[in-house]
Amino acid sequence: MHSLQVPCTKENLKEIRYFVENALNRYEISTDDIYFIKLAIDEICANLIIHAHHCNHEDFIEVKIKNEGNTFIFEIHDQSNDNFNLLEYKVPDIQQIIANKKNGNMGLILVRKIMDEIELERCEGHNICRLYKSIPQANS
């Protein structure tokens, strides 16, 4: 298992992406797949850092990567009381985002399109967002 813990600042998103890329480079995964997985994890982490932790550098976020056969499990751990539920959130239509001059809401569209499955676990202020991605050709 690979893991990284960083303070909740936007500047650390690059480190998270670097960590994900390095961890996945140990497997036979295409650069396109690595790019999109990195993007999905970045979107979840950015959402948590900005909206749940308000970029508070005293808070921490942890990313863990495991693989079971050809399925990769990405866990994003944090501690916050944010009630946002990305599983229930209805993403708006892209035309509507443009018409409303919005610059947000597209991250979740990307996560849902890239990942196979998303799970949320909440227990006494400790949250885990679990993303599953099956990559049939991946070999370590």
Binding site: K10, L13, I50, K101, G104, M106, G107
Partner: protein, 120 residues
């Protein structure tokens, strides 16, 4: 991320160098806003050195697109890698934002669009 801003004839060109993410998108958004406020009619975004883009970076485009359309400003992106272009495609934005392969194609498109626009 770094931005390189140049004017070539009637084209305002913003080159994005590095990663356009939640951390850097505000800087790019300000540059785009400045170009619109300065009444630039052809804004070309050079993506040839753009290594990575996430939704806040894409949001900088979507939030200004309507304003550009209303003010007859041609906003054209060019030179992006296939990976970056795929992110736009996943979102269906390749149908709504003009994306060209080269600077020359971007200039020709912007030029022609200015002449054919009903507002011109």
């Amino acid at each position: 991320m770094e931005l390189l801003i140049q004017n070539e004839d009637k084209f305002h060109i913003i080159s994005i160098i590095g990663d356009l993410d939640a951390s850097s998108s505000v800087i790019f958004d300000s540059a785009l806003e400045e170009a619109i406020n300065a009444k630039a009619k052809n804004i070309l975004i050079d993506c040839s050195q753009l290594d990575y883009i996430s939704s806040p970076g894409i949001g900088a485009f979507t939030s200004r697109l309507e304003e550009c359309n209303q003010n007859n400003i041609q906003l054209v992106l060019y030179g992006m890698s296939p990976k970056i272009e795929n992110v736009f495609k996943i979102l269906g934005l390749d149908q709504l934002i003009v994306i060209k392969k080269t600077k020359e194609e971007a200039k020709i498109y912007a030029n022609d669009a200015q002449f054919t626009s009903p507002l011109h």
